[in-house]
C-alpha cells in the first residue's frame, strides 16, 4: 500500500501556463476563505476539488500566500486521509472497511477488487482508469459490505459481484468513448 505521505512526481509535470492557471484557481479559493489560515483544511479540500488532487506546486503556493511554513502544509496534507497528493484515476472504487462490512465479508470484496484490477488499495491502475482506495466507514452500516464507485453506493456486495460491477463500468466507459 503506497504511503499517503509520498508524492508521485512523474505525474506532476505542469508546463508554465498550467502553473499560472493553477495559481489563479488557488487564489480564488483563498479569497473564498478570506485568507484565513484557520480554514486551511477547507482551503486544501476546495483546492483538491478543483484541481482533482493537491499538486506540490499548489501546496507551495498556498504556503506562500498564507505565510505558513511549507512543512506545515505538507504535514497537514499528509496527516488527513482525504487529501490526495497523486492525480486521481478516472473511476474511484472505494471499499468500506467498517466493522459491519468486515464481519459480512468486506475483506474478500477488497481482495477481489485487488485481483481484478491488479493493484493494491491506495494505488491507481497504470492506465489511470481505476483508483482503488479504502475508507474506514461510510456510515451505511446496515448494507454492508459496501462499495462506492465514484461516490455511488453499492450495498450487499460480495466477491462474486465484483467482476460483474467492473464489467458494467467497462461497458459504460466503452459506450462513452463511442
Amino acid at each position: 500500500m503506497s504511503s499517503a505521505s509520498s508524492t508521485d512526481r512523474t505525474a506532476v509535470s505542469n508546463p508554465a501556463a498550467d502553473i499560472e492557471d493553477m495559481k489563479a484557481k488557488v487564489d480564488a479559493v483563498l479569497e473564498d476563505h478570506r485568507h484565513d489560515r484557520g480554514e486551511l483544511i477547507a482551503i486544501l479540500l476546495d483546492t483538491q476539488d478543483i484541481l482533482g488532487y493537491l499538486p506540490v506546486p499548489a501546496m507551495k503556493y498556498i504556503a506562500e500566500r498564507l505565510n505558513i511554513p511549507p512543512i506545515d502544509i505538507f504535514g497537514t496534507a499528509t496527516f488527513y486521509r482525504s487529501f490526495k497528493l497523486n492525480p486521481p484515476g478516472r473511476h474511484t472504487c472505494t471499499i468500506c472497511m467498517g466493522t459491519a462490512c468486515h464481519v459480512r465479508g468486506g475483506p474478500q470484496v477488497l481482495k477481489e477488487f485487488e485481483r481484478q484490477l491488479g493493484i493494491c488499495a491506495g494505488q491507481t491502475t497504470p492506465d489511470r482508469e481505476y483508483e482503488l482506495e479504502t475508507v474506514a466507514c461510510v456510515g451505511a452500516c446496515a448494507m454492508g459490505p459496501l462499495v462506492l464507485i465514484d461516490g455511488e453506493y453499492h450495498g450487499n456486495m460480495s466477491s462474486r459481484k465484483v467482476p460483474r460491477l467492473l464489467r458494467r463500468l467497462d461497458r459504460e466507459r466503452a459506450e462513452e468513448t463511442q
Binding site: 483544511i41 488527513y80 459491519a100 451505511a140
Partner: protein
Amino acid sequence: MTGRISSPDELKQARTSLEQARESARDIITVCTGPGCVASGAGEVADAFRAQIKEQGLEDRVTFRCTGCHGFCALAPVVTIDPAGICYGGVKPADVPTILERTVGAGEIIDRLVYTHPDTGQPVPYEKDIPFYKHQDRLLLEENRRIDPESIDDFFVLGGYEALARVLTDMDPEAVVQEILDSGLRGRGGAGFPTGRKWSICRQNPGEPKYIVCNADEGDPGAFMDRGILEGNPHRVIEGMCIGAYAIGASEGFVYVRHEYPIAVRNITRAVEQAREAGLLGEGILGSGFAFDLKVVMGAGAFVCGEETALIASLEGRTGEPKQRPPFPAQSGYRNKPTVINNVETWASVPHIITRGAGWFSSIGSEGSKGTKIFSLVGKVENTGLVEVPMGTTIRQLVYDIGGGIPNGKEFKGIQTGGPAGGCLPAELMDLPIDFEALAEAGTIMGSGGMIVMDESTCMVDIARYFTRFLEQESCGKCYSCRKGTQRMREILDDICEGRGTLEQLELLEELGHTVNEASMCGLGQNAANPVLSTLRYFRDEYEAHITERRCPAGVCTTLIRYQIQESLCDGCHACFKVCPADAISGEKDAVHVIDPDVCIKCGACLEVCPQGAISVVSGGGE
C-alpha cells in the same frame, strides 16, 4: 417557505398557519432516503413516485415526502403511507404505480411488500405492530419519520424551535444549565460526561468569547447514528445548539462534520442557511437580544479528530494531534477560549428536555444513565438499522426483541460495543443492561452507539486484529506507546491469525496491551488495547486454538482454513467450477468435485453458489 420570524408569537403563528394549510384528508407517502435505503435504490423509487404523481395528476390528493433514516435498514427501501401507518419494504420503482393505484387509490394492502412476522409468517402491514419498531422508544428517530430534512416548514409543524422560544422568553441561562444538569443527560459521543456539568464549567470560566461545537466526526466504523440525525433532522441539532449557546454564553458555534458524510454536510449547511433566513440564527434571534451563528466545517479523514483537543486543532487548521488535558476545552479550547464540544445526539436531545422537562427525561433509563440512546445495530442480526431504546435495555432485548435474532440459524457469539475503543461481550452477558457503568465494568464502553452483532462464523481474534489495525492506522503517532504499541500488537495478532503464534506471544500481547492503555495520552491510545484485552478476557480459548492447534474455530483466518467439498453431498452440478476465479476446482459433470487447497484463494464464491450446501470451511486437524 415561511419568511423571517421575529418573535415567539410569530413562530406559533407560522406553525398554526402551516398546519392549517396542510390540513386535509390527504395521504402522505414517505420514501426513506437514509443511507441504507439510498444504497438500495431509494433514489430511483422516489423519482418514480414524483414522476407518477405528476403524470397521474395526484398532486392535490397526495403529499409526497423524502425523509431521513427511519431506522429499519433491513427493509430498505422503505416506503410508508400515512395516516394509515402502512409500512412497505424492499420497494422497487416498478412497484410505484401499484402502490398508488391499490394502496393510495383503493386502500388495499399489497402483501408482498409488507413485513412478514418471523414467528407467525403473517404479514404485518402497520408499522406500529412491527416488533422492530414496537420495542423501541423513538424519541429522536421518530422525528426523522415525519419531516423532509430539506424543509424548515416541516420542522415548524413538528413544533420545531419552540423549545428555543421558551428558553429565550422564560428562562435565564443558569436555569437552562440547571435543567440539563437535572435531566442527567450524559454525552452521547462516547465518554458519557455529564452535559450539564460541562456547560456549567464553561459558563463559569471567565474567558471570552465562548464557543460551542457539534462533534459530528462520527468515526467509529459500524456507527451511523449521528449521520441519521444530522441528515434527517438537522434543525433539531441547530435548535439544541442555540439553546446551549444561550445557556453557556457563546456567540459562535461550529458543526464539525466528517468529510465522508457529504449528504450530512449538505443538509446541515442548507438548514443553517434556512435558519438564518428565518431569523433563528444570527443577530436578535426571535426578536430577543441573543445573537448566535453557526459555521459548518468539514473534517478530512482522521478518526482521531473525534477527540476533543484534536478536533479543536483541526478547527484551527492544524494536524489533529491531541493535547494534554488539563486545561480541558471547557476551560481553554478553540483559540484558547472556553469551548463546549458535544455530540450530535446530545445536542438533539436538548430541545426535548426543555420542552418536556428534566424530570421526564430522568424518568427514562437507568440509575446512572438517563434518557434514550440511539444504537446502530448491525452485523450478524436480522433487523439491521438504527434503533432507539431507553438506557438500561438489555443486550438480549436489543438483539432478539428488536433485532430479530441471528439469521441463517446461527448462534449468537458476541456483541462488540463502543467502536474501536470498546470491547466484545460474550453470550453469557446477554442480560447486561446497556448503561455506562455496567458496560465499563464488563470491560467495554458505551461509546457512540455502535453495536456489532457476531455469530459463530466471526473469529474474535480476527476482530481484535481488525480493530487494532484500524487504531494503528488512525493513531496520530505522537505517543510512542500508542504508535509502536498498536503496531506491535497488530503484528502479534497477524502472527496468531496466520498460524505463527506462540503462547509466549499471547502473554506479551496482554502485557503490552496494558502498557498501551496506561501510558498513552489521549482517548484513542488509552483504549487502544480494549479490543484485544476484552477478547482475551472472554474468548481466550479461540486465541489458544489458533496457537496450539493452528485452528480457526470460526473458519475465517484464511491461512488456517480449507474449503472442502463433502463427497456425500456433491451431485456434480458443476456450479462451483463455473464461478471459481482461481480454477481450483476439478471434476467432471455429475461426478464429485474436488477443491485443490493449494490453489484455492478462499474467496467464498463456491460456497455461495452450491445448491447442495456441500461446501464447507474446515480448519485444524493437521495440515
